[in-house]
Symmetry: C2
Subunit: 150 residues, 2 copies
């Protein structure tokens, strides 16, 4: 279940986009600059998100990306599955990708009990909720520390 940095960057970028208002179209390079993310890398992430219908891309004059739907309708699960791959939930929490159902890992039986909790959390939490949570958090945090990694 462990997520990689792409998911972190992706969520950060989506939060940023959500804050701009749903309609606002921004170039990947702009978001990268504002959020201090590697721009080529972010471009890749945006491509995945676009392919999976989380973002919408635009070409031509008013080019860039915008949220495909309002953040209240985008579940976190969608986002992370778009980035990490559709088999994310099949990965065991204990030994990420070495746990096929045919030859399950030693703790698979116990993972099965916890898994639904995860699924539910990721399905029910929307991007809007993360935005809100993030806002209340940065309100408390001292202003000295600049942009912070997860």
């Amino acid at each position: 279940m462990k997520l990689n940095r792409e998911s972190e960057y992706g969520i950060r970028a989506l939060i940023f986009l959500a804050r701009q208002g749903r309609e606002r179209v921004l170039m990947a390079s702009t978001v990268a600059q504002e959020q201090d993310l590697p721009q080529g890398f972010l471009a890749k992430i945006f491509q995945k998100l676009t392919r999976h219908g989380v973002l919408r891309s635009y070409r031509g004059k008013q080019r860039g990306y915008a949220l495909a739907r309002p953040p209240e309708e985008i579940a976190l699960k969608e986002v992370v599955e778009a980035i990490e791959g559709p088999d994310l939930m099949d990965r065991c929490i204990f030994w990420s990708n070495r746990c096929p159902t045919s030859t399950p890992c030693l703790l698979h039986e116990w993972y099965k009990e916890i898994k639904p909790q995860f699924d539910q959390m990721l399905s029910q939490t929307t991007l809007a909720a993360v935005v809100q949570q993030e806002a209340s958090l940065s309100a408390l945090r001292p202003a000295i520390e600049p942009k912070q990694a997860g």
Copy 2:
């Protein structure tokens, strides 16, 4: 929360030792051979487990390792914390080791809700339970496939 291969090997080896009966003293190299694990690497793991009181080491003629206590009294949590470090439970499930409480990750708030489930599972599951589970599993599995990784 993701565990590394040391934990896998460690648990496999402990299962093996538990099956031999609690008192039986076996050398690391023997266990490595029997369970098809890299022996130098396993030696390292055994050292950690010994330091944390899961195994007991013996020197002299009857040398090697044995379980320090009966498997019914060894919680999985003890084992994995011995191997992965005492901060295991502090690691976020989402972004393993980059989530200090001072600057929590974007999903930390949601992890906090799930965390107790984990703790409970690892605390309550004993080595004996894993042995039993593993036994019932291998009884079902076709005999063709030999020693299987997690």
